[in-house]
């Protein structure tokens, strides 16, 4: 067969500047592990502007110490993109993204145990006419499965360097680096037949894309093939629309084929898979029939109608237990360190507003957020572990049916579950949800899962609600469960509503690979945990610092006359006045202006409510001991002498806290993850609105019933 004209002739000679490699592969083929093995810690993690897809760039060094730039592209099954992640991979490879240089060379990584499907993406990439190196990873897994992979046959069939590799233990990485630093890389000699009825359309589209859309000829051919595989893929977020001429041409061909009954999309995919089948049969031999693998055996248990639920339950219980117990120790340390820092500043600076700004504003505010960092990191660690072992996909598989009741799919389960500890890692974990609308719905409802910052508020209110000094355990647990249930049902109710109204879309698909179980690389999981934690600090840090300072200012100004107590100062500050201003709006809920101050200040973080109440009512809670504060709350009165914190008011306040969006860190993260202010503002509006309405119903209803 003659070489296709776009490939014949020429080799990819090495560029004079630092060569840029793009690393591409299917999800779960070990791409991140290989990237870490190649670049070590020399990585920069950021975001592609305009979309929330992680951008990772690292530097590898050849055997001679020459630097090589490696861009780790998001995992993709096809260049006909289905998700923002895949769209980024496609756009970088096609040179569509202005913010990322088009890579000179491409490193394709495939899973040796699953060669055919992995080669599909490689096959599309070979069409780009760039030098490609193929890395056949997971050789150990393939050998265990009784597969013999002949690297030399693959090289022969594809005409490009092929490297066998085991990224987890670094086997093959040196060979790979040698290949990467080769000055001349051959271009693939592989040729495949575009089915005859379509070939003409490809040529015409290619010409039109070159002429009207300004694409270079080779790229235009690849784009034409993509358009014919899945014309919807141009509509994925972040894509540029086609020129009208090309769109017209495409429509024309499609109409013609529809008339003739030509199934163009499947015939293209078919012929690719036929070509791949020939390659695979030349290179892969199955030695003996493979029995059930270890993965099959685990899944018999882990997705069993009875044991599956049990496994899920036990794992999730373990997760939460470790978050609440393991995190306690570092949290106390941080608490101590923050207090020590504030004390140190107090001791070493002249008294005055500036000192207070630093200690009570900046340090206290930021400290109130980083105190949650241990929990957030532990969550990231578990999410990473669940992802890289392959259990995450099983959890989604088991939960899909339940989630589909409200129009979501199983992939929303883990993000929502994580949100019970903290909404921030939960919201950051929604990146695995491909469908944009599903992802948004999940982000919108995540703060309804009662997070751990609400616990101190619940505990204080329960203490004030129950008559005795000691809260009976059953009452405490019962009320807590009620609050968790309220938030959870609220979340699913809103998901249902949003999927039917605001974010109506196609019913989500659940086409998901169930990768075999794997032993995770602990180093890779840790690395990812720190990267994500750092990302959170960097992203939320500035917003949190800013808001903390504003809140401090509101509570410190204007100044009360000298000698005033903290309580008097707060009462006549802006915050106090805002509380008064707010009173007409919250009086129907049974809250007075003093509670109003608490509501305002807890915008920094919900648990700040407790310390604010301490200042407002002039009673410090000592650690976990809420007794003095409880006394003070119970003694608080309306001006007309009625008790302020009646059991009904305490209960109403808890309901308010279940729903209200009171967390700047969450707002900051939602802003980043959705790339606009529209969604976080909407979220504040709908959550706080619901909180107000439900509190009104509870309070007025309770009153009518005589509470």
């Amino acid at each position: 067969m003659a070489l296709p004209p776009h490939i014949a002739g020429g080799t990819g000679s090495a560029p004079s500047r630092t060569p840029v490699y793009a690393l591409v592969g299917n999800p779960n083929c070990g791409k991140s592990t290989l990237f870490n093995a190649l670049t070590g810690l020399k990585q920069k993690v950021g975001n592609y502007p305009g979309v929330t897809v992680e951008k990772k760039i690292g530097t590898a060094y050849s055997q001679h110490g020459q630097p090589i730039t490696v861009i780790d592209l998001p995992g993709a099954y096809s260049l006909a993109a289905r998700s923002p992640d895949e769209a980024v991979t496609r756009d970088v490879l096609l040179g569509r993204r202005a913010d990322t240089p088009q890579p000179d060379r491409i490193l394709c990584i495939v899973d040796a145990a699953n060669l055919e499907r992995n080669l599909y993406l490689v096959h599309q990439i070979l069409d780009l006419g760039r030098p490609v190196i193929l890395v056949v990873n997971m050789m150990d897994v393939a050998i265990k499965a009784g597969l013999e992979i002949r690297i030399d046959r693959l090289e022969h069939e594809l005409g490009i360097p092929v490297i066998a590799c085991e990224a987890v233990n670094g086997r093959g990485v040196i060979d790979l680096k040698l290949a990467m630093s080769r000055a001349d890389l051959p271009l693939s000699r592989h040729a495949w037949d575009i089915p005859a009825p379509i070939a003409k359309a490809v040529a015409e589209l290619q010409a039109s894309l070159t002429a009207s859309d300004g694409k270079p000829p080779l790229i235009a051919r690849a784009e034409a093939l993509l358009l014919l595989t899945d014309q919807d893929s141009v509509r994925v977020a972040g894509s540029t629309p086609l020129s009208s001429r090309t769109a017209e041409l495409l429509r024309g061909w499609q109409q013609r084929w529809e008339g003739e009954g030509t199934d163009w999309a499947s015939s293209l995919v078919n012929s690719r898979y036929e070509a791949i089948g020939r390659i695979a049969s030349a290179a892969v031999t199955q030695a003996g029939a493979a029995g059930p693998t270890l993965s099959d055996k685990i899944d018999r248990f882990a997705t069993h109608p009875v044991w599956g639920w049990l496994t899920l339950g036990v794992l999730m219980t373990l997760l939460f237990l470790s978050i609440f117990t393991l995190a306690e120790y570092p949290m106390n340390l941080i608490d101590g360190a923050v207090a020590a820092l504030a004390d140190g500043v107090k001791a070493n600076m002249a008294e005055g507003d500036f000192r207070d700004l630093i200690t009570d504003g900046a340090i206290a505010g930021v400290g109130g957020v980083i105190i949650f960092l241990p929990q957030i990191l532990i969550l990231f660690f578990f999410i990473g572990l669940l992802e890289s072992t392959g259990y995450m996909a099983r959890a989604a598989f088991i939960m899909d049916r339940l989630m589909s009741r409200v129009g979501l799919n199983g992939k929303s389960f883990i993000p929502l579950l994580s949100s019970y500890a903290c909404a921030i890692p939960g919201i950051m974990a929604t990146r695995t949800i491909e469908d944009q609308k599903d992802r948004l719905v999940t982000i919108l409802i995540a703060p309804l899962m009662s997070c751990s910052a609400r616990l101190p508020v619940y505990l204080l209110m329960i203490a004030a609600l129950v008559p005795g000094e000691q809260v009976p355990l059953l009452t405490k647990v019962g009320i807590m469960l009620l609050m968790y249930a309220l938030g959870t049902f609220g979340a699913f109710g809103f998901a249902w509503l949003f999927k039917r109204t605001l974010l109506k879309g196609e019913p989500p698909l659940m086409i998901m690979e169930l990768p075999p179980y794997r032993l995770p690389g602990l180093k890779d999981v840790m690395l990812q945990m720190f990267e994500r934690g750092w990302l959170f600090l960097r992203r939320a840090g500035t917003v949190i610092l800013g808001i903390s300072i504003v809140l401090w200012f509101l509570a410190a100004y204007p100044k009360a006359p000298d000698g005033a107590t903290a309580q008097q100062q707060l009462a006549q500050s802006f915050a106090g006045r805002a509380g008064h201003l707010l009173e007409p709006a919250i009086k129907p809920l049974g809250f007075d202006w003093q509670i109003g101050i608490g509501l305002i200040s807890s915008f920094a973080a919900r648990e700040v409510f407790v310390s604010t109440m301490g200042v407002v009512f002039n009673a410090e809670a000592e650690g976990d001991d809420t007794a003095p504060l409880r006394q003070a709350l119970l003694a608080a009165k309306w001006p007309d002498g009625r008790a302020l914190f009646t059991p009904l008011v305490c209960f109403t306040l808890m309901v308010f806290y279940v729903f209200a969006m009171q967390c700047v860190s969450t707002v900051a993260i939602v802003r980043r993850e959705t790339n606009s202010w529209k969604w976080p503002l909407f979220q504040i509006g709908y959550l706080t609105g619901t909180a107000w309405i439900l509190s009104l119903v509870v309070y007025q209803g309770g009153r009518a019933l005589g509470f």
């Binding site: 006909a80 995919v269 078919n270 997705t303 598989f397 049916r401």
Partner: protein, 75 residues
């Protein structure tokens, strides 16, 4: 028969899947084509989605999609 009607553990060869539709384009790209051999591994604990095996790997899809995939059982 439909893929969704296959007995758990049974194998079949795909006869036909719908020409258009997001789900089916993706399924094809994942290697589910006319002529591909599949086996139904299990159903999720609540009966949906399905787990199938094809080309040496495992894939899930919902019943609503599997209803449109026609297969010929093999013994």
């Amino acid at each position: 028969m439909k893929l969704s009607e296959l007995a758990v553990g049974a194998s079949a060869v795909v006869r036909e899947l719908p020409k258009s539709g997001t789900a089916f384009v993706r399924l094809r790209e994942m290697g589910l084509l006319a002529g591909t051999r599949v086996s139904l591994i299990r159903l999720a604990p609540l009966g949906d989605p399905l787990e199938i095996r094809l080309r040496g790997y495992h894939l899930t899809l919902r019943k609503s999609e599997a209803d449109h995939v026609l297969v010929d059982p093999v013994s």
